[in-house]
């Protein structure tokens, strides 16, 4: 219980905030940013961004949220030098967004596919790779890994113009990462992607963040942002309406959540009686948890993949080696982190903050033993309904999936060592 209470306390966000000491680099700094679109005669037409201020630090995943026309894409375009601010100041890596040298550290995936339709996927990556002064060997190696990563190995020589929207998004993502950027800007990255692709993109974002890369993510899909972002900025009408970590923004301080395994009916009644005695009848809710649709879908596809072939995009590929980092030690740490991450992740838990807050400590003290026991048991009964229990249901499937991934990763590593 105390362990559970610890998890829902404010310790970790504070720890995360404390870990972000003042000497951490500010990658993007936006001050008083305003953008007014004018007509041909110079008359103001629309104020798309109005006095926006925020900073993005190294290794952070920042989400830009807002309804259509709220100014998210306009802000991103100003960060990239595609639009110029009417007022205010932007710095990216300490320089103006129009500074050419800085662009070698940025990767950008736009909302729509603006790729050259007459190039194949390999040619597209070769072309964009050649703009980064990469050595030919290095470029070829990255292209191979990226195509594998985005699941387009079967479509290497097909023209981008023949691709479906989702496939175009995948190759767009690949070109955004060809230079192993320090800052990745993704505008609606999961738009047009199937749920597996969405999951893989989210895993990729987390992998990038773990390597210390900075990610700015703009999306309408709240679930995607919730899964990966450290902080969010919520736009409306060109202004920032809310900004902060997810934990801070989503906390409901006036309600409490308890997770238990299934209890006998008598025990349940006793607990409810005690609670009702204190707070009355009307505000207590009891139901069984459900797994979310994403988990269910992933499970179905995983089973189908074992028996069926597809000519479309494939999934389940590893993140490209150069994006993961090349060192064996970090590889092992990543693998362990991934497994433990899946086991211990619950709604609202910020894995990145946890990793940063205690970089060298083992995660055991924060592990929910009760949940682990439940996962390890042969016949695990469905737990009492809370959304956190939903996550533990997902964790059981994740564990087996994680085991599979771990085997393939270890198997892949062995192959690499043999190759050397």
């Amino acid at each position: 219980m105390s362990t559970v209470l610890d998890q829902i306390s404010d310790k970790e966000p504070e720890a995360a905030a404390a870990s972000r000491s003042s000497d951490e680099d500010v990658v993007v700094a936006v001050r008083g940013l305003t953008k007014v679109f004018k007509d041909f005669w110079g008359r103001p037409k629309a104020k798309a961004v109005n006095n926006v201020n925020f900073e993005v630090r190294r290794g952070e995943v920042l989400g830009l949220l807002g309804p259509n026309g709220s100014g998210k894409s306009t802000t991103i375009k100003m960060l990239l030098g595609l639009l110029y601010p009417t007022k205010g100041h932007i710095e990216v890596f300490g320089k103006s967004p129009r500074h050419v040298g800085t662009k070698s550290r940025i990767g950008y995936l736009p909302e729509e596919s603006y790729l050259y339709r007459y190039l194949s996927s390999e040619e597209t990556l070769k072309f964009f790779g050649s703009l980064f002064q990469l050595e030919n060997k290095d470029r070829e190696r990255r292209i191979e890994q990226l195509i594998e990563m985005v699941g387009l190995k079967n479509a290497t020589n097909r023209m981008v113009g023949e691709f479906s929207k989702g496939m175009q998004r995948r190759i767009g993502l690949a070109q955004a990462l060809i230079n192993d950027p320090d800052l990745v800007i993704l505008d609606e990255p999961t738009s047009g992607m199937d749920p597996i692709g969405c999951r893989e993109i989210k895993d990729l974002v987390l992998a990038l963040a773990k390597r210390g890369k900075t990610v700015i993510l703009s999306s309408h899909l709240l679930a995607d942002v919730e899964d990966v972002c450290d902080r969010v900025v919520i736009y409306y009408g060109g202004q920032v309406r809310a900004m902060g970590t997810l934990k801070e923004l989503l906390k409901e301080p006036d309600t409490l959540q308890i997770t238990t395994p299934v209890l006998p009916k008598a025990t349940t009644e006793k607990v409810l009686e005690i609670i009702r005695a204190d707070i009355g009848d009307g505000t207590v809710r009891l139901d069984n948890p459900t797994q979310n649709l994403e988990s269910y879908f992933l499970n179905v596809v995983r089973q189908a993949r074992e028996t069926e072939e597809t000519s479309g995009a494939t999934s389940g590929s590893e993140v490209a080696a150069y994006l993961r980092g090349d060192g064996t030690a970090s590889k092992e740490a990543n693998q362990s982190d991934k497994v433990l991450d899946r086991l211990t992740r619950e709604k609202g838990h910020d894995p990145l903050a946890a990793a940063k807050a205690k970089p060298s400590e083992p995660e055991a003290p924060t592990v929910d033993h009760a949940r682990l026991d439940a996962l390890a048991s042969v016949s695990a009964a469905p737990a009492l309904s809370t959304e956190a229990t939903k996550e533990s249901g997902k964790s059981e499937e994740d564990l087996s999936e994680a085991d599979e991934k771990l085997s393939s990763l270890l198997g892949g590593e062995k192959k690499d060592e043999e190759g050397k």
Partner: protein
């Protein structure tokens, strides 16, 4: 450099994959192979070259020029319109390099097309030459498939004579004396120049052609005399008897002959070798045996032609000048495409091309000193306002375009005139570096400064 070449390669690839390259190649091949077959020549060497070089090469250039303008307008403006330029601009490549890379790509396309067409034309000339008579073959190889240098007659300094004539006139004519000196001097100068050019009926005049700088090159080599004159009145048959004495007692050799020549048309008369005197000059005495005054213009009235280069090198230099013009057209199209949509950029570029081709007409307006016709009946101030607005603009246009259009490689090739290395480098400097460079700088500047996105994703 790598990024420029990558972008140039992208432009080439787009041209190939959108089938533009293949369509252009087929069209050009059809022009080069079918046009000489469809148009029958008169069996003369001049006729053959007129078809193969004047018509065919002109048609090739017109098609390449129009397609270059169209392609260069589209290659950047379309990328901007469909936002694919955003993928390029966010990469570490300065925008001016993106512009330059596109230009280099178009240059490669034009270079390839022109080289292939030129090679085929050269082959056709050699092949068709075999079908001429022996006499015409000799004309072709000696007079036309050569690069002949030109030495024009000396223009004497008439300042002293003009001053004397002015004083004489002012002394004898009060009205003339009352005119402003500048106007009066200008009038006298024109009179003196006209007098100097004219050979009156039944009289003779001697003109000097200075060939001292090429005396060694022309030693022991046969020369040609090209004459062109304007008669004071037109003979019914347009035929004028003329006596020629070329060379003088100081020359090693001299030539005398009487011929009948047409008016207002260049005619070539063969001359023997070694006609230069010790100072390197050739004296040309024109004896006007007709009843009409004949005026020999200073630039092309009396010219001595001499063998300077072979045809092959001359042909290559001519093609190079055509390539320079195509490079300028692509710079114009690309610059227009940086700030205009494709249709508007195409319209602007084609308009500039039409204006360029109308500089002859514009020059005539400037010579007349007024845009409105002499028969214009309206108020005087209308003429003044119109001329005040248009004449300076026309002067600027003629000044700008004359630097570019002052070369005529197709005419030179079809008439066997040499295109010297000096002409080539002057063309490179004026067309590509100065004019093309100025337009490119403007285009790059606009492209660097403009925003390439809007609030929406499509423009």
């Amino acid at each position: 450099m790598k990024s420029i070449l990558a972008i140039a390669g992208l432009t080439l690839r787009a041209a190939v994959r959108y089938r533009f390259f293949i369509v252009m190649a087929v069209s050009l091949l059809l022009i080069v192979s079918l046009l000489p077959i469809l148009i029958k020549h008169d069996g003369t060497a001049e006729g053959l070259l007129q078809i193969l070089i004047t018509y065919t090469l002109s048609a090739v250039f017109v098609l390449l020029g129009a397609s270059t303008l169209w392609m260069s307008c589209g290659v950047l403006s379309r990328d901007i319109d469909d936002c694919s330029i955003q993928m390029l601009v966010v990469k570490p490549v300065p925008r001016w390099k993106i512009w330059l890379g596109k230009w280099v790509g178009i240059f490669f396309i034009n270079f390839t097309m022109l080289t292939v067409c030129g090679t085929i034309l050269f082959g056709l000339i050699s092949w068709r030459a075999g079908k001429l008579t022996e006499e015409q073959k000799a004309v072709l190889h000696n007079e036309l498939l050569v690069g002949r240098g030109v030495a024009a007659r000396e223009i004497e300094d008439n300042d002293k004579l003009v001053e004397e004539v002015y004083k004489e006139r002012a002394k004898n004519n009060e009205d003339f004396a009352a005119l402003p000196k500048e106007t009066a001097m200008e009038e006298v100068r024109k009179y003196v120049e006209a007098y100097e050019q004219m050979v009156p009926a039944y009289s003779a005049k001697v003109y000097q052609v200075n060939m001292s700088s090429m005396a060694d090159d022309v030693k022991d080599k046969a020369l040609q005399l090209q004459l062109k004159f304007n008669p004071s009145r037109k003979d019914l048959n347009n035929r004028y008897p003329i006596g020629l004495v070329v060379g003088n007692s100081a020359s090693t050799n001299s030539s005398r002959l009487e011929i009948v020549l047409p008016g207002e048309r260049a005619t070539i008369v063969p001359l023997p070798a070694n006609l230069l005197d010790e100072s390197g000059r050739v004296a040309v005495q024109i004896q006007n045996l007709s009843e009409f005054d004949l005026s020999f213009p200073p630039d092309e009235g009396i010219q001595i032609l001499f063998h300077q280069y072979g045809f092959r090198l001359n042909f290559l230099r001519g093609l190079a000048i055509l390539l320079f013009w195509l490079s300028l057209l692509s710079a114009i199209g690309l610059s227009a495409g940086t700030f205009l949509s494709f249709p508007v950029a195409s319209f602007l570029s084609l308009s500039l091309l039409v204006i360029g081709m109308s500089t002859g007409l514009i020059s005539e307006v400037l010579d007349d000193g007024t845009l409105l016709p002499a028969s214009f009946q309206g108020p005087m101030f209308v003429r003044m306002v119109v001329d005040l607005f248009f004449l300076p603009m026309f002067q600027v246009i003629v000044g700008l375009f004359s630097a570019v259009l002052g070369f005529s490689p197709i005419d030179s090739l079809s008439s066997g005139r040499s295109i010297t290395w000096g002409d080539l480098f002057r063309a490179l400097f004026q067309i590509v570096i100065v004019m093309g460079g100025a337009i490119a700088a403007l285009g790059m500047y606009i492209f660097t400064r403009r925003e390439l996105a809007t609030a929406q994703n499509q423009e």
